[in-house]
Amino acid sequence: MIRTANLSKRFGGVEAVQSLNLMVREGTAYGLIGPNGAGKTTTMAMLATLLAPSEGKAWIGGWEVREHPDEVRRIIGYMPDFFGVYDQLTAEEYLAFFAAGYGIEPSRREGIIIRLLELVRLTDKRDTYVDHLSRGMKQRLGLARCLVHEPRLLILDEPASGMDPRSRIELWSILRELKAMGKTILISSHILPELAGFCDAIGVMEQGKLVADGDVQEIMNRYQAAGRTVEIHLLEDAERAVKRLEKEEGITSLRVEGRKLTVELEGDEHRQAELLSRLIAEGISIYRFEETATDIGEVFLKIAGNGEDERP
């Protein structure tokens, strides 16, 4: 659905995006993560035809973005990180404005608007002035606006930023519905665990470069392979287990809290299995041995912290 080839954008001497090669399959959700200034918003603005790339090309639904911007605009729904609304319009008029802008016949508009307001849980706000809606409601109305022309691709730049927890839950629930409907979604966010639960693939951007991309689990595995954290809960004092572990190779750190040991271990699942067998063979009583779930935020920090291209 999205393909970019060496996509770059320069603002004066600053390279906001550098030779970006991205591929997003139809019907999947792709998350772009990275700190502020990483180039996520610039990338999305180029894909949404708002900025002309300095170099490289991008295709959306097969259309080259710079050569066929009108065709691209018809198949994308773009929601910027900060967007205003027309305060003097009601929610219905706001959506009708965009429906007309996308050339939808007047006879079809009302039905579309009713369905969209239902989808974003704003049916009862149909005749309310946009000015009187809460931030979360405006954000959902903005999402409905993106959907007015039934786009195949949604480009959502930090859609949950600044929302209260309840509104965020509602928004993610709507996004899940949209994903289930088969929409392709390119989304950026700082709420990384939410992205991990939602996206099929992620790309990590840092200083205009895509420093890692691929399947969420695959990326986590790749960076976990360098070291995983395992918690070992014992039925006895930690002394024997510590002595055994100190002899073990590939252990980069060991922390003892009573009968709980936190071990950072190089290698994958097989290495963990080996360690467990050895401890049991020594007769150490273990009642729990588990890898702590790696937060995608930690993975992101690890990748971004390296500051160099770590793509395989």
Binding site: R3, A45, A48, T49, L50, L51, A52, W59, G61, G62, W63, E64, E67, H68, P69, D70, E71, R73, R74, I76, Y78, P80, F82, F83, G84, V85, Y86, Q88, L89, E93, F97, F98, A100, G101, Y102, G103, E105, P106, G142, R145
Partner: protein, 297 residues
């Protein structure tokens, strides 16, 4: 939908109309504009009544000319205020990026914004027409003079609207765009007479002491000044336009400002978003679509 239905269904035009008429200040602008115009006419007639010139057709011509000039000057202040924030305001409210992701051409957006702003100005002018009926009570005005006066006003308003939208598109901040637009209007209203004075002084001192032949730069610059050209409608003969002047400054004004308006609107559509501007799509409100994607990969 046929072409006319599309014009009426133009989303930007509809939205602008709706929004503008919902502003609390809109009826106040209308009220104050008509009130000020009415007060001026009433005061003028009161003065005439006291001078016993009440039924003098020449005084009546002066009333119409005065009305036209006052309207011209008032609109020189009103129109930039209405138009200089149309695009920069969208930028400041962060609604422009969303607007630009719709398949509307930049030219279409600019034209709709321009038409919507001018529609309100025309509402002001049309609402003030009954005040002009005072002029018809006493005669002395030819239909041609009235027609020329309104054509002049129409061209001026269109140009001022184009100027406001151009600066609004070029400059990111509404405040700066508005000040620049007023600056440009002041340059025309005050700068041209100053330039005329200096040129006349130059000719008088160094080139030609006789002003029997009007120097060409003076004719050209006069043809760019709204007040001088408006005066020419009523006092062209007294100004010697039909004898000494080589150029018909009224038509120079109308054609020059009509062309300038088109130029300003095209430039505004370019500055709206240089990334999406297309040379030939200015007059199409919706972008053209091609069939079938062309992704090589």
């Amino acid at each position: 939908m046929n072409r006319w239905s599309r014009v009426w269904d133009d989303p930007v035009l509809n939205k602008e109309f709706r929004q503008r008429m919902r502003f609390a200040r809109t009826p106040w602008i209308l009220f104050l504009y008509l009130g000020a115009m009415g007060l001026l006419i009433f005061t003028y007639m009161l003065i005439l009544q006291e001078k016993k010139d009440f039924l003098d057709p020449e005084m009546n011509r002066m009333l119409l000319m005065g009305l036209a000039l006052i309207q011209l000057l008032v609109l020189s202040f009103v129109v930039p205020g209405l138009t200089a924030g149309t695009i920069s305001g969208e930028r400041e409210r962060q609604t422009l990026s969303v607007l630009l992701t719709m398949p509307l051409s930049s030219g279409g957006i600019i034209l709709s914004k321009w038409c919507a702003s001018l529609a309100f100005v025309f509402l002001l002018i049309i609402a003030s027409l009954p005040l002009y009926t005072a002029v018809f009570l006493f005669g002395g005005i030819s239909p041609g003079e009235l027609l020329y006066t309104f054509l002049h006003l129409l061209v001026t308003v269109c140009f001022l609207g184009g100027l406001g939208i151009f600066f609004s598109s070029l400059i990111r901040r509404t405040g700066v765009a508005m000040v620049t637009t007023y600056g440009a209007v002041a340059l025309i209203l005050v700068g041209i007479p100053v330039a005329l004075f200096l040129i006349a002084l130059f000719y008088d001192r160094f080139l030609d002491t006789s002003l029997q032949d009007i120097p060409l730069p003076i004719e050209l610059l006069s043809g760019l000044h709204p007040v001088i050209t408006q005066l020419a409608v009523f006092y062209g003969h007294q100004m010697g336009l039909d004898q000494q002047w080589r150029i018909d400054i009224y038509w120079l004004y109308v054609s020059a400002y009509a062309l300038l308006t088109v130029g300003l609107l095209v430039a505004a559509s370019y500055f709206l978003s240089p990334a999406r501007w297309k040379k030939w799509s200015f007059f199409s409100s919706r972008g053209s679509l091609k069939k079938g994607p062309k992704d090589p990969g």
